[in-house]
Point group: C2
Chain length 190, copies 2
């Protein structure tokens, strides 16, 4: 049987984005924390690579997406390095040996070392979760497919502002051939 | 007259790479510090953007170039985030409003936000200095040209392990149409 290494990619589960009073709160994110913990525990127990992908923005907005820049400059600032809001929520804090990847754009692959590091680890399959579906999750999934990874989206560990948005994105993602399943379904298949 | 914004790009002037006892010391680097200070002062006085590009490697080597990996694992570790060796040498410490760009590969453009940030600032011209000529400086210069920037190399603010290596690289760089001049010549032309 061909050896296939699988990595878990957890996206943007930072205080500013997950907690209800966070300036960039995604409504569905907090409810997924226990399920992400299940996935994370499974990967840890099986000694598989884990990548925690996070946003970071410079305080002057010089690296913020152009469509978000005006609000950012007007005061909707978040994911500033060194602030508590930028930190990964405590339930999902990276363990030694896990990787933290900083991104300034939607996709975890864009202008980051993620692809290089996955290749080094012989990873050919990735399981993606976190937040939020229409932006960072979806662009990461599409880029992952483009780079040649077998991608699975862990649906009950991934979130959006509403269930309607989540379902619409899952439908589109399935349509390009990406597996979408729950964490327990995923673990059951391993 | 067309407005052209110019940015200064200072490459890899970190303690581990510049200081004589640094594990990745480039012999010519320390001698260029006063000249880089001149260039930096000029850019600061003229309120032009400054980018300090630095190496960072993860301690387990998972993001080190494949050709450097064996030595890195054998103990030649450097540019580890959080260590004094990873810091920019004190004479060139970034001032508020200047940018620090982290790279894991040779070119300052590869998998970094540099190009996006330069574009945001309307930068069309870059002046490059730092260390070392054959690797990070040269790849940055070539990529800069490929991305459409007018590139100048500040020759007396840029270094290599030997003058022969520096001169051979300057010749190649001139041959693709990049301006190579001293810091004083550069300032004189502004």
């Amino acid at each position: 049987m061909e050896y296939k290494q699988t990595a878990l990619i957890i996206i943007d589960m930072q205080n500013d984005i997950v907690l209800p009073d966070g300036p960039a709160c995604v409504r569905g994110a907090l409810a997924t924390v226990p399920t992400i913990v299940e996935a994370l525990t499974y990967f840890r127990n099986n000694r598989r690579p884990v990548f925690h992908v996070v946003r970071e923005y410079r305080e002057d907005g010089s690296d913020v997406e152009i469509t978000r820049l005006e609000k950012f400059r007007q005061g909707k600032k978040y994911a500033l390095p060194g602030t508590p809001g930028c930190e990964i929520i405590k339930e999902l804090a990276p363990a030694p040996g896990e990787y933290r990847i900083v991104k300034n754009r939607f996709s975890a692959f864009m202008n980051t070392e993620l692809d290089f590091m996955l290749r080094r680890l012989d990873v050919t399959q990735i399981a993606v979760c976190g937040t939020q579906y229409p932006n960072c999750v979806r662009t990461t999934v599409f880029d992952g497919v483009c780079y040649g990874y077998a991608v699975t989206v862990l649906t009950d560990a991934t979130s959006a502002a509403s269930d309607a948005v989540a379902q619409a994105n899952i439908a589109d993602i399935k349509n390009i051939g990406v597996t979408c399943c729950t964490v327990r379904e995923y673990i059951g298949k391993q």
